[in-house]
């Protein structure tokens, strides 16, 4: 899996995805597109492609960072309550400020995602039994609890169906003007790259990191903030994308090892490509209808995850 090949494949699929959809735009139309076709491209297809690439890359990197910081291969925004906390944040912002601006929603969602992930880290500190499989279990339960709080308020204010839309990742609603918030992720990814070495060190444990002169707490907090910010922006624009942050880093680090600097770019490219392929599958399978990304990802992702779990058992005891 050379980076050259994955990047080339990503480009190819990106190009393909531009020409898949209900309105007819084919490759042969390139160069002499009608105004409607141009509009479809700029209003819908391109934004969709961009959001897929950004969301795929950034959520995968979130997973990678979390796995480094917690030293557990099975921790990710889905299995640490980050997504659920962000969703609770969205709900709270809706309740408190009836017509919240996207930026405000984003802010509240970010605050909640950060808080939720932080609480999860606190719980991790207090658990004595640090079995690799047990920790994601606790994280998933924690997520369930947060969701039950969300449901409590959503039900009281008749927002269950709205919340279910945020639970449910979907790229088909992405259009020009409704996804730009995702751009926020790009500088964050840069920051993640800048901090990559420090995350790797922090992943070796607090004592180890401090011994090497690292500001451990600060590095962990920056990592969590990046994760929370990205998660919040993705929840608001696309919705939850289950398992993504779990699977992609696991596959990539299997080949590239745990040195973040080596695996970061590869994870981003692979994550973007993975989401793109899932999205294309979702668009093609029941054409002209669509299967949303969270369903395709739910099916493919849960399958791969279970496979990873089983494989882990056969050589790591």
């Amino acid at each position: 899996m050379k980076i050259r090949y994955t990047s080339a494949a990503l480009l190819l699929f990106s190009f393909m995805s531009l020409f898949i959809g209900v309105s007819d735009v084919s490759v042969t139309d390139l160069g002499h597109m009608t105004p409607e076709q141009v509009e479809i491209m700029t209003v819908s297809r391109l934004p969709r492609l961009l959001s897929i690439l950004i969301a795929g890359a950034s959520i995968s990197i979130c997973g990678l960072i979390m796995q480094q910081l917690t030293r557990n291969k099975f921790v990710s925004p889905t299995t640490a309550g980050t997504f659920d906390s962000a969703r609770l944040g969205v709900l709270i912002s809706l309740l408190l400020f009836t017509s919240a601006s996207p930026l405000l929603k984003m802010g509240v969602a970010f605050a909640f995602a950060l808080m939720g992930t932080f609480i999860f880290m606190q719980i991790l500190d207090r658990i004595k039994y640090k079995d690799t499989i047990f920790i994601p279990l606790v994280g998933l339960m924690f997520g369930n609890i947060i969701s039950s709080v969300t449901t409590f308020f959503a039900l009281k204010h008749d927002l269950v169906q709205n919340m279910s839309a945020w639970l449910h990742g979907d790229f088909s609603m992405i259009m020009e003007g409704r996804f730009e918030m995702l751009y926020l992720s790009i500088p964050l990814l840069g920051l993640a790259f800048f901090y990559a070495d420090r995350f790797t060190l922090a992943g070796m444990g607090e004592d180890f990191a401090k011994n090497l002169g690292l500001k451990y707490k600060q590095v962990v907090n920056i990592g969590l903030a990046i994760v929370a910010m990205i998660t919040a922006s993705v929840v608001l624009t696309v919705g939850m994308i289950p398992f993504l942050g779990l699977i992609v880093p696991n596959i990539v680090t299997y080949y590239y090892g745990d040195h973040l600097k080596k695996s970061l770019v590869q994870t981003a490219v692979f994550g973007a490509g993975f989401v793109l392929i899932c999205d294309i599958i979702g668009r093609v399978v029941i054409y002209p209808y669509e299967i949303s990304i969270s369903l395709t990802m739910g099916v493919i992702g849960s399958g791969i995850f279970i496979y990873l779990l089983m494989r882990r058992r056969s050589y790591a005891f």
């Binding site: 449901t151 009281k156 739910g298």
Partner: protein
């Protein structure tokens, strides 16, 4: 004996709440209201007992106090069955109308699912946490499937599924109650021969095997009991995920013992108290604007995070 006195105290509180539920807040129309309330309170006792009982067993099997069988993905399985019914047959479908068919369908689907899951994983020699994690992932899979279909269903019909999604004692069918009680008594009888092993099982696998417990066999049987009980409770009133965690941990705090005779009794009593009290609050304070499961998951969830954040040796 201290334990006996504590149990008596809980018994009195539980009885008081049940009586309060039955006889307060009625001005007239006793003939209509009383039978309905009797059914409701019976459903509460049955569900409460089933959930508390299965959670105690489950935590003993897993030697862990922060796990609950409700996370096995059974809830999602139940939701999926409900959504599928509405999706394929529409809200006016016979299955949705005939609650008995729906009930048996759901229970059968859930028990079958957990049975296959256990069989498959235990045969591969998988550990119990792996089983749970796989269960939970399948749960995510099911719920992503249901939420996808719910978005497809038009909003009116969505409301009907939504009703089914949250536990509610408001529309318990008398016939369902009968079936549930029969199934529960059946699984209790099935459980009885294994009761004597429970205290030893709590020591963990190595100690239990060393002391001559036929471990694998018992785990399999007990997991089936757990699956049946949770399925019955879920299908009867809908999912109440965190009730088990709430009441069993309360029981541990209250008694501080490992003896299952007491643990089981106290957990069941706490469960009845939580449900009966919760239902009273839902009906008389919130006047039905929320449901009991949502209320209990809310309270139970917060209590649980508190437990997790407190230093403890039990997990």
């Amino acid at each position: 004996m201290l334990f006996k006195r504590k149990i008596l105290l809980l018994l009195i509180i539980a009885a008081g709440l049940v009586l309060a539920f039955l006889f307060t807040g009625v001005s007239s129309n006793w003939d209509y209201i009383l039978p309905r309330r009797t059914v409701k309170i019976s459903a509460i006792i049955v569900t409460g007992a089933a959930i508390a009982f299965s959670t105690v067993i489950f935590q003993t099997i897993t030697t862990n106090r922060i796990l609950t069988p409700s996370i096995l993905g059974l809830d999602s399985m139940y939701l999926l069955v409900q959504t599928l019914v509405v999706f394929f047959f529409g809200s006016g479908s016979i299955a949705m109308m005939d609650s008995q068919v729906n009930y048996l369908l759901s229970v059968a689907a859930m028990v079958l699912f957990s049975f296959l899951l256990f069989k498959w994983l235990l045969r591969r020699g998988g550990n119990i946490y792996l089983l749970l994690l796989v269960g939970i992932i399948l749960g995510t899979f099911f719920s992503s499937l249901s939420s996808f279909m719910q978005v497809l269903i038009d909003p009116n019909e969505f409301l009907i599924v939504q009703d089914k999604m949250f536990a509610s004692f408001n529309n318990v069918n008398t016939d369902l109650l009968g079936i549930s009680v029969v199934i529960m008594i059946g699984s209790l009888l099935y459980y009885l021969p294994y009761h004597k092993y429970m205290d030893v099982m709590a020591l963990g696998k190595d100690h239990a095997v060393n002391l001559g417990v036929p471990y694998e066999r018992i785990i399999q049987r007990l997991l089936i009991v757990v699956a049946v009980l949770i399925s019955v409770a879920t299908a009867l009133v809908g999912p109440v995920t965190f009730l088990g965690l709430l009441v069993v941990n309360l029981a541990h705090e209250f008694l501080n013992t490992f003896r299952h005779n007491y643990l089981l009794a106290v957990s069941i009593l706490f469960s009845v108290i939580a449900l009966a009290g919760g239902q009273l609050i839902v009906e008389r304070v919130f006047t039905f604007s929320t449901t009991i499961s949502v209320l209990i998951n809310f309270i139970g969830g917060i209590y649980f995070i508190y437990l997790l954040l407190r230093e403890n040796k039990a997990w």
